[in-house]
Amino acid sequence: MTYRIYACGSNGKNQLGTSDSKDLDTLQLVFESIHSPVEDIIAGGNHTLILLQNGEVYSTGDNSYGQCFQSPDLLSTGLKRVPNVDGKSWIMGCAGYEFSVLIDCDYQIYSSGLGLKGELGIDHNLTRSPVMSKVNWDSQGRKIVDIKACLDHTIMLLDDGSVYGWGNSRNGKLGDTKEKILWVPTKLQLSQSVKKIQASRDFTVLQFTNNEIMLIGKDRYLIQSQLINIKTSDIKDFKAMWSSLHILTCSHQIISIGNNSHSQLLEIPSKIDIQQFEAGSEHGLLLTKQGTVLSWGWGEHGNCGTKKKDSDSFDYLNVLFDNTERENVALLRGGCATSWMVTSDVD
């Protein structure tokens, strides 16, 4: 089986992993994995990590601060393998603007890059780590279920329903704390157990085990107050762009709340059967039941595909990939004006 990764969008620092650094407005094949499925594509500001299910990680893009886990001599890089530590498989990771975090199969956490607001999570006042460094955190036997980062903060969900975070904690996006920066992983003080997390630029979104969604942090677009109109039992999934929240309902509708400066809140016609959806920094991607990938929102760098109108705002659903008989779409991911699609061969 061959798994193929296609990408388009902003590519100034080679974050798409192509042979040059030109932006692309059509999906281009950038990586092939012959044996292992692709677990995740983790997009930072101008860098990208590709995580395979066999525990290998590849990185590409801006490495000025070591955020690609490559030699600090390399300012930017094409796709290169990231070493495993002590032979341990990587199982998950996240990336913010100029930093990256990887977790191995023993739930050891490693980070690298630049983090003036505690993004590295390594130590007090430690803002730079050009090489991979270990984050000192005792899991106390608990498993890490998910980890998400946006610009300058990281949140981590454990199997006991607790959430830890580090980075910029101004305005409450890492919970109630007087500290403006949390330099090391710190437990968020929450009244209920959490089952799903999302990180956005100014806020964090938590879904509790009773399905209720809560936004913590700066809520400039009054998103929380509009959530009351959504039945909690109707929430299937949710994703955040940098300034909006998008909720997929059990009836396959997307309810969008927040900044609509570039058609980020486009109403998705109810006739579209949504199988999967993803949020980039300010654009959205969805996979239909028929296997077509559609995009909307801010697409100035080609991340929404080729323009049909003379505007960078895609106020319509644009076809980014049309179903073929040869490949199935397995995964979609959105980054900072980048779009990613993983396919597998049809048997």
Binding site: S10, G12, N46, R201, A337
Partner: protein, 70 residues
């Protein structure tokens, strides 16, 4: 409707006393930027060198004093 992508408070921006620039991450991966002197002169827009997006900087003129002292 305004032409701004977003409005950002000056406390959320990063100030570099060497370049005299306030910066803030742009969703394209680059950074919005504006000189402190331009803000002093009444400008309130920060632009991104890599794309067409603009933000409006929310500040009072007296907010700038503490940054000039840096």
């Amino acid at each position: 409707m305004s032409n701004y992508y977003d409005q950002i408070e000056i406390e959320d921006m990063t100030y570099d006393p060497v370049t005299q620039l306030f910066t803030y991450p742009c969703p394209c991966g680059d950074k919005f930027q504006v000189f402190i002197d331009d803000l002093k002169d009444g400008e309130d827009v920060a632009v991104c060198p890599s794309c067409s997006l603009m933000i409006q900087v929310i500040f009072d003129e007296e907010d700038l004093d503490e940054y000039y002292e840096k």
